[in-house]
Amino acid sequence: MRPIPALIALGCLLAGSALAQPAPVKLGVLEDMAGPTSYLNGQGSVDAAQLAADDFGGKVIGRPIVVMSADHQQKPAVGAAIARRWIDEQGVDVLLDIPNSDIALAVDQVIAEKHRLAIFVGAVTDRISEQDCNPYAMQWGLDTYADSQTVRPLIKSGFDSFFFLTSDYVFGHTLEDAARSAIAAAGGKVLGSVTIPLETTDYSSFLVQAQASGAKVVALLISGGSRLVTAFKQAREFGLSDASHKVTSLHIYTEDVHTLGLPATQGLEAVVPFYWNRDAASRAFSERYKARFGHLPSELHAGVYSATLAYLKGVEKAGTTDAAKVRAAMAEITIDDVYAQHATLLANGRLIHDLYLVQVKTPAESKDPWDYFNLVATIPAAEAFRPLSQSLCPLVKH
C-alpha cells in the first residue's frame, strides 16, 4: 500500500474502533513529577492508580478505565490550569493525589467551581476538609491534625519545650497551628518559631536561631522529601541534637529515613497511615507493587491505590460517573483495604481510618533492608482524626 491511503485506512480503523468502544472513565493523577517530593508520590502514585484500575478489571460500568497524569511542577497556578484543562477539554472524571497543600487548595477551588470530584492523598493541610471543604473534595491521607499528635509521646518523655522551623506555605502554617494546640493540650510550651521560604537550600541561619532559643525540641515543619533531608543534615552539622536536645519533624516517611540512615534518625517517632512491613496484608501488597514497579510503595502510593479503588467502587454502585451521585455512593460502600482500615467517609470529605504510631528502629534492630519502623501503637480511626463535632466545615450540620 502507498503511505497516504494506508494512513487514511488506519485512521478509519481507529475512528471505527473508537466508535465501537464506549467513552472511557478518566482518572487524572496530578503529581509533582520531578521536584523535592517526587520520590514520595510522583510516578509511583500514577503507577498505584494504574494498579488499582487493573485490579478492578480495567473496566467499570462497561467502560474502560484510563489513567492520565501530569506534572504540576510545584506551582499552584500550573496545577489549577491543568485541572481546568483536564475537566474542560478532556472530560476527566476524578482528580487524584494532588500533593503539596498549596496546589491542592488551588485545584480544590477549580473542582468546586466545575462540580468534579477530587481525592486528595498527598496534600496534608486540613483546610481541604475543614474551612475550604466542598461537596466534591475528599481527603484520603494524613492531615495536619493527625500529624500533630506526635508531640504527645515527646512531652511525656520530658522533651517539653519546642521551637518550630516552619515552611512558609499553607502546609507549614496549618501544621504549626495544629502542633501548637496539641502541645498546649499536653502541657508543653512553644519557645518560638521562624518561617522558612520554600526554596531555601541552606537552613543554617534558621538552625542557629533555633539553637539560641534553648528549646529541647527543634521541630522541622518542612514537608517530607529532599528539603527535609537537607535540613536534618545541616542540623547535625551544627550539633543541634544531644542527650537533652532533639531535632524532629512531626512526620517522617520511610523513604526519608532511608536517605538519612538509621544512625541519624533512630528513636524518632511519627504517626503513619501505612507502613509496608506492618502486617501480612501490607507486606503482600507491597511485594506485589514492588514486583511490578521495582520499588516498595510509599504510604502515599498505598493511599492513591486505596482512593482509586474506592472511587471505582463508588462509580459501580452509582452506575454513573456523575460527581454528586458517585460521592453519595462512596459514603455508602464499605471502604476497607490495605491502606484504609476501619474506614468511614465523613460528610466533610475526610476519610477516617486507623493510624499507627511508629518509632524508627536502631541500626541493631533493623533486620532487612527497608525494615525501619517499630509499631508502637494503633490509633483507632475515631481518635486519629479531628472529630466531626469539632469540624469547621460548613457542610457539617452541628
Binding site: Q73, A77, Q109, T195, L198
Partner: protein, 326 residues
C-alpha cells in the same frame, strides 16, 4: 523596509497606520472574533494577556532600545493587586484590572527613575531592573499576608462586569479580555505613531544626536518606561482575574525572560511581532507541557538561535521580505 510611498500614505490615516498595518490589524480583529469558536477560550485569554504584556514590553526594547530584564515585577505585582482588590475589596473586574495598571504605573515610575540614574551603557539598565525585580520577588515570597506566598493569592473572583454581567462563563470573560487587549494594543499603536513615538525611535537610533537636537532623552525614556509598565500591570491583573489566582511565577525572573523571548521571536520594533511571539510562546508552553522540562530547553534554544541568526524576529523578517510595515 517600508517604501516612502507607504510611509506617506500611512500617516494620513486616523491612527497613522500604513495600509499593510491596517490589513494586519483587520486580520487580528478577525482572529479575536472567530478564535474562540475554534480554540479553547482559556488558552486564548492566556495568550492575549501575554500578547499585551509583550506588546507593552516592545514599546521599550523595540522603540527606545531600553532593555528591562525585570518586567515580571510589573506584570506580577499587577496580578497581585488586581487579584487582591477583586477578592478583598470586591472591586468591579474592570476597576481591579485598572488597579493593576495603576500599580504598574507607580512601580514603573520608581524603578525607571532609579535605573536611569546609572548613566552610560544600556546594559546597566538591564541588570538594575533585574536586581530590582528580584527584590520584588523576595518581598512577594515573604509578604504572605498580601500575596499568599507560595500558596499564591487564590480564590480571586471573576465578578460581574459593571455589577451586571457575570463573567463566570468563559465566553463572557473572553469578550472582556479581547476588548481590553485591543484597547491596550491600539494605545501602543497610537503612541508609536505619535510625534512622541518618533522621538523614541530617534533616541534608539542615535541618542547623542537626539540630545544635541535638544531632547531631554531621559524624560522620554522614563515616560516610555511608565507607559510600558502600566500596560504590563493591566495584562497581569487581567490574567489573575481570568485564572482566579495570582502566584509567584508571575514575579519570578523567568517571567521576565519569557516576555523578552516573546518579543524577540515575534520581532522587536514591529507592532504585530510581540503579539505573534506571545501566541507562539504560550502555545509552546500549553501544547508541549507534557514534555516537561524539555520546554525550557527548547525555549533556550530558540533564544540562542534568535540572538545569533534571527534578530529581526518572525514579523520583522516577514516585513522585510514583503516590504510591508507590520
Amino acid at each position: 523596509m517600508a517604501s516612502a510611498r507607504e510611509e506617506a500614505a500611512g500617516h494620513a490615516g486616523g491612527l497613522g497606520l500604513s495600509r499593510s498595518e491596517r490589513v494586519a490589524l483587520a486580520g487580528l480583529a478577525a482572529l479575536l472574533v472567530f478564535g474562540p469558536f475554534a480554540i479553547y477560550p482559556i488558552f486564548l485569554m492566556n495568550a492575549l494577556c501575554f500578547a499585551l504584556f509583550a506588546a507593552a514590553y516592545n514599546l521599550m526594547i523595540g522603540y527606545v532600545g531600553l532593555m528591562s530584564f525585570g518586567h515580571a515585577a510589573f506584570f506580577g505585582m499587577g496580578s497581585y493587586v488586581g487579584g487582591w482588590t477583586a477578592r478583598y475589596w470586591h472591586l468591579d473586574p474592570l476597576l481591579a484590572i485598572a488597579m493593576g495598571g495603576a500599580t504598574g504605573l507607580l512601580m514603573g515610575t520608581a524603578f525607571g527613575w532609579l535605573a536611569l540614574r546609572r548613566q552610560g551603557q544600556a546594559i546597566y539598565f538591564a541588570t538594575i531592573t533585574l536586581a530590582l525585580a528580584q527584590m520584588v520577588y523576595f518581598v512577594c515570597v515573604r509578604a504572605t499576608g498580601f500575596t499568599g506566598g507560595e500558596d499564591g493569592l487564590q480564590q480571586v473572583p471573576r465578578g460581574r462586569l459593571l455589577g451586571l454581567l457575570s463573567l463566570t462563563s468563559d465566553r463572557a470573560m473572553y469578550v472582556v479580555v479581547a476588548a481590553i487587549f485591543l484597547a491596550g494594543f491600539l494605545a501602543i499603536v497610537r503612541v508609536v505613531h505619535s510625534p512622541f513615538g518618533q522621538v523614541l525611535v530617534a533616541i534608539r537610533e542615535n541618542e547623542p544626536r537626539a540630545v544635541s537636537l535638544g531632547y531631554q532623552t531621559r524624560h522620554y525614556k522614563l515616560i516610555a518606561t511608565i507607559i510600558s509598565c502600566t500596560l504590563s500591570g493591566v495584562a497581569g491583573a487581567m490574567q489573575a482575574i481570568v485564572f482566579g489566582i495570582a502566584s509567584l511565577e508571575n514575579v519570578h525572573f523567568s517571567m521576565s525572560g519569557e516576555v523578552v523571548l516573546m518579543t524577540l521571536t515575534g520581532g522587536m520594533g514591529t507592532l504585530l511581532g510581540p503579539v505573534v511571539g506571545g501566541f507562539l510562546v504560550t502555545a509552546m508552553e500549553n501544547y508541549l507541557a507534557p514534555l516537561g522540562n524539555w520546554v525550557n530547553v527548547l525555549q533556550g534554544i530558540v533564544f540562542v538561535a534568535c540572538v545569533l541568526t534571527f534578530r529581526r524576529g518572525i514579523v520583522g523578517v516577514l516585513g522585510a521580505r514583503t516590504g510591508w510595515r507590520l
